[in-house]
Symmetry: C4
Subunit: 196 residues, 4 copies
């Protein structure tokens, strides 16, 4: 038991150092790709008798994404799963780019980078499984959830502290806004939704 | 690890002191605003392929709200999210005031205080995120869930011990009823639903 | 922190002693009332935009109830909530008596005891909140979930180790079958569903 | 408390030894039966007012099953519960054999083994409750989830570390692929879905 908690402490420190190292890269992010199942959700697929799929998103992630949008960062949902709930959530949050049923994430990330004319230096990606590993050469920062696949963790720039579906996107949004010194503005009066 | 548990203990004691300090204010509450997503729910938005949203409420929160109502306290649901499930839940519980799609919570809280002729001294608010911070000047007591945003916690009167969606509303209801010495009456025979 | 874990240990031992004491009473149970929300479920009410309510039951609880039924014990669902999902679950499990929308549980328990001609000595009840306290004089054994209301716990015969919705009904079913020496028969070959 | 953690440590070591012992058997698996409720799900049955049942599957389990399929292992869903969501999930994942409403799992496992001409030596089964015990004589490896029934655990070849619905199927899939030395191929570039 003690060995276990020492190991997890070393892992924790190691991850802390990783976050320190990428501080400057984080500041430069202009384009953020988010995997959906296992990142914006806990990976749960609620399936009914007709085969309809329900997914559980989080309201705090949503607020984080609105703040990112306000700061000018482009956010993209990219999912290997079939669409439906995902596009609906993207629409609710005003996410312009929502790619579903993606088999080769490398190709889609590259295409969108070219289309938006945003380079690798300004691109980050948050995933949770081995089908996200393929984007590594295209992005400056590859992140994973705390409960992401070990193989992905090994090549990731850093791991978030939260699990997929458990406000991990909010955590990343706050980290990006802090790096850009855009978070403090909310500390006094909070945030009021604007309609402009 | 030890440092961490010492910090969390200090936080716990500090919060305990806060609750002691507000004991008298709690007794005077006549109007209670409750944020919905992240307070009455855990923030989860279950979205189906048609974009319909399902929310998970809790039956023990519901019983707490019925008791508050019996004691004469006015309860208001106030949500930045779109309506639907929220109004249905309000109706089930006999909550008269249910405000959804609220962008500026300051304005809505103020309006309702004026309409009901209830002053700041008698108003409390339970929220979980930075869009709840704006109501601070309007309420005597501003509460947050255990998993509320740090920025909100910093300005809150006190934090509840439970997370949003995990009986945090019931916890607050019992605290209010205890402060008003209305809780003990249930200790012998419990509670039977009345239809009058 | 240490104080806390000592207290919880005392609570644990105290509960253990309670279970020892009621061993003989458990053996005599012929009629078992189960509250629904917070017992057969975790208290969650999944509400959609039309106000339809979805409830999450557990398959292991279900198997426990089938075993109780096979052993000749009558099981009753008794709920203060509105019906719908509850009756459907009762039907799936072959539960004959399913009472929903019950305001006064005392009256309903008494009525059914009279109808089935089963006395207090042979009746048990598993609940989780203060609206279950009223049945205390009618039942030999009043149980509560691990996360049940404190007021109910204080008057309960004993507490189960599991939370509502988390296989607490299965736990009670196994305890009853063990007390009746009907559990061991499954230890070698398990259980095959019978259709007779 | 200390006694408890020592016991759980012994259990952990014991299980580790069990996994070592079956290393060779794992390599030979060609046919894998998966119970559904409590294995592919956490046992939760989300029931609506019409009696429709929703089940929560996991996307990481799904990816694990796709990898197993690619490696040539036949996967079968076998469920005592009524069908609906289960068949839909099977179809989504390209699982050819999906048996629902099964009362006697012994018979069905045997039938399919004969039909596919796969012997006991090459068959594994992952279950979670006492109605899975009956297949023991037919399979080389009988697995259970971390939260499986104690009676099943006692006769199981080994226990997985995860609970039902919490990526336990993914865990087993990785263990099988590692035993067949088919996991390392993903460590560099991950996995891209193929459509051939």
């Amino acid at each position: 038991v003690i060995t276990k908690s020492i190991f997890s402490y070393i892992y924790y420190l190691n991850n802390l150092i990783k976050w320190k190292k990428i501080k400057n890269d984080l500041k430069n992010i202009k384009l953020l790709f988010l995997d959906v199942d296992g990142v914006l959700t806990d990976g749960g697929l609620y399936i009914n008798e007709d085969g309809q799929i329900l997914k559980k998103f989080d309201v705090k992630d949503g607020l984080g994404l609105k703040l990112l949008k306000e700061s000018g960062i482009k956010v993209v949902f990219i999912s290997g799963g079939v669409g439906g709930a995902t596009e609906k959530r993207a629409k609710q949050l005003g996410i312009e780019y929502c790619l579903v049923g993606v088999q080769n994430k490398y190709r889609e990330v590259k295409n969108l980078q070219r289309k938006l004319n945003i380079s690798k230096t300004n691109t980050a990606y948050l995933g949770d499984d081995i089908n996200d590993m393929v984007v590594k050469p295209l992005v400056k920062l590859l992140f994973t959830t705390a409960d992401g696949s070990k193989l992905l963790k090994r090549i990731a720039s850093a791991s978030l502290n939260n699990n997929g579906g458990n406000k991990v996107v909010r955590e990343l949004a706050e980290r990006i806004l802090i790096s850009k010194k855009l978070w403090k503005q909310y500390s006094l009066k909070g945030w009021i939704e604007r309609n402009d």
